[in-house]
Amino acid sequence: MPRLTIDDLKKIKEQHKATFAVREGGYRAKVTVHMGTCGIAAGARTIMTALMDEMAKADVKDVIVTTSGCAGLCSREPMATVEIAGGPPVKYVELNEKKIKEIFDEHILKGNVVEKYAMVVGSETTY
């Protein structure tokens, strides 16, 4: 490592922002790819890979991606839920690579819900 200046310290911090958003919280958006048996069979793995590629390309640092189990609508997998901090979760259904890329650009980056792929806004009632 070369000698560091104070600006270098700040740059290093910036470069690691994405890693620490994952560990510390404080992220802007969260995408949950539903990866139950049904989701995986329907191709959730491709959705996940495509999403991770898009994240890397766009170099976003404040979005986290997680997985969860079956969402209960196995016939409409692959599914993903997008939550922008402060907003209600949006569930997208019957995804493919092209659709998730579009959702990434429009919803995650720009904040506009992609209504044509969305099934529902909000979450189920739990107690």
């Binding site: 911090k13 048996t37 997985t67």
Partner: protein, 625 residues
Amino acid sequence: MSEQQRVSLMVCAGTGCVSAGSLKIKEAIEDELKKRSLEKEIGIVLTGCNGLCAGGPVIAVYPDEIFYQKLRPEDIPHLVEEHFVKGRPVQKLMYKMPAKRKAIPVMSEIPFFKHQVLRALRNKGLIDPEKIEEYIARDGYMAAAKALTEMTPGEIIKVVKDSGIRGRGGAGFPTGLKWEFCAKVQSGTKFMLCNGDEGDPGAFMDRSIMEADPHAVIEGMIIGARAIGANMGYIYVRAEYPLAVKRLQMAIDAATEAGLLGKNILDSGFDFNLEIYLGAGAFVCGEETALMRSIEGKRGMPRPRPPFPAHKGLWEKPSVLNNVETLANISPIILHGAEWYRNLGTEKSPGTKVFALTGAVNNVGLVEVPMGIPLRTIINDIGGGIKGRGRKFKAVQMGGPSGGCIPESLIDIPVTYEDVVKTGAIMGSGGMVVMDNNNCMVGMAKFFLEFTAEESCGKCPPCRVGTKIMLDILTDISEGRGKEGDIETLEDLSHDIIATSLCGLGQTAPNPVLTTIRYFRDEYESHIKDRWCKAGICRELCSFHIIEELCKGCGACLRGCPSKAIVGEKKKPHRIIQDLCVRCRSCYDTCKFNSIKVLPAGFEGEPSELVETAAAAKSGKGAAE
């Protein structure tokens, strides 16, 4: 960074978890992730001590904040499949509340973590201690940058003084004041020193900080060196801490390469070089003047003060010695200010304190709590209460061999320097050994005195000879040779040793004896007069008896007895043949029906004579109380 990771797996690589096998867990996870081509999405980080050592090996999963414990390599394929592929966290591997057996997934809801506030341990479990970038990413070296380029030494000292932080090594001397004394002395050569010679039995706060966040110590030293005007520093670490030494050396090398140590740090014109000095593990070398002699290559023995090290320290040059934990607190104080530091803790004891919680609690581990928190919260909530069915809290030993015990009646005191001292214990460096009703207080005092008698450097006769005489008396008491007047002799000797010893070792060595006499005098008396160690620890002073009315004849004690001293038929009350019994306690610990009682040595009554005791036991008041 081009490659993004969606999950960070923080595998604890503190000494506790490594010995529990965390490196094997890491390998197993790596293999499993590779099999599933997940290695790019999921990052594995080896961190320093996570704190919940009792659950080791532990891993924390972010962003889900899920905490797994007691992992075995064979659990890993299932865990990876379920959690990282399918997103279903695995309940059976999570932390469970001791009483409820219900899995708690989210770290912030686990009482052990919930009551903690991390300042000195701010990076524990969050960064890879071997990567300087990760430390920098968490505001690392920004405080040094601020101190070196925007502040004068006087301003640094003022902030540290105003913060009110007191030395975390035990004595609690205000850190800012120490720096000010040294800064005022005119001298071309000064030294900034770090005390990592953690010697109290059961204490591992400093080791954990050095292992989990070595750069935090280095940054604190750079700031301190700037404040007092030192250009050379030493970190004194015990050679028995190999992992801490390794990580510190890696950190020093990385910081030197990055120009954060050495000449002209961050173009500020300030030079500071840092070296590690390995101690050979003598307890007395944790005392500041002895530590300095040891670095000079001489025999580690204390010398009278004054002159204080601020005037004549290492090689007779002005020196400041700070504890590891104190130094780890410096950077956040510089970055966020004195007011911020004071928003936790009390007026006279601001900030937080790290404790090594060990002994009879469920959650043994490393904790950092705001000063002023009730002792009860630490033991019952963070510690998860006393381990083992039917066992009860008896006392907690604070401050190691220099400290004293705090009994149950005082468990609601706030943990601050002032309040702890009032009990006769000391805050010390932060060792907290919890004892239950199966601990003998005479035995406990004897244990700590054995340690100090052994570690006394021998310079002052009151300490060298006095602790030995006290130890002999305690040994006599615990082996049945105690006599009337022993307690008073112990008290007299204690006061003499405290008054006439040169250094902290002798001045505090009698504390465990004094506090156990103060709070558990009846236990000493029953040892001496009744030949009865009610906890059943001192073998010469107890006998074990089965109470017929309570015995179900299950045979568990009979099977476990190593000397075949228990006889009895199935489903009928058993009996212990006293002549054969070696008083190993195995039956006492095994019995599920609380039917075995500890009675005085040589008790030769018939079971019928024990009926009264039995009745008392049924109503919840055992003879052992």
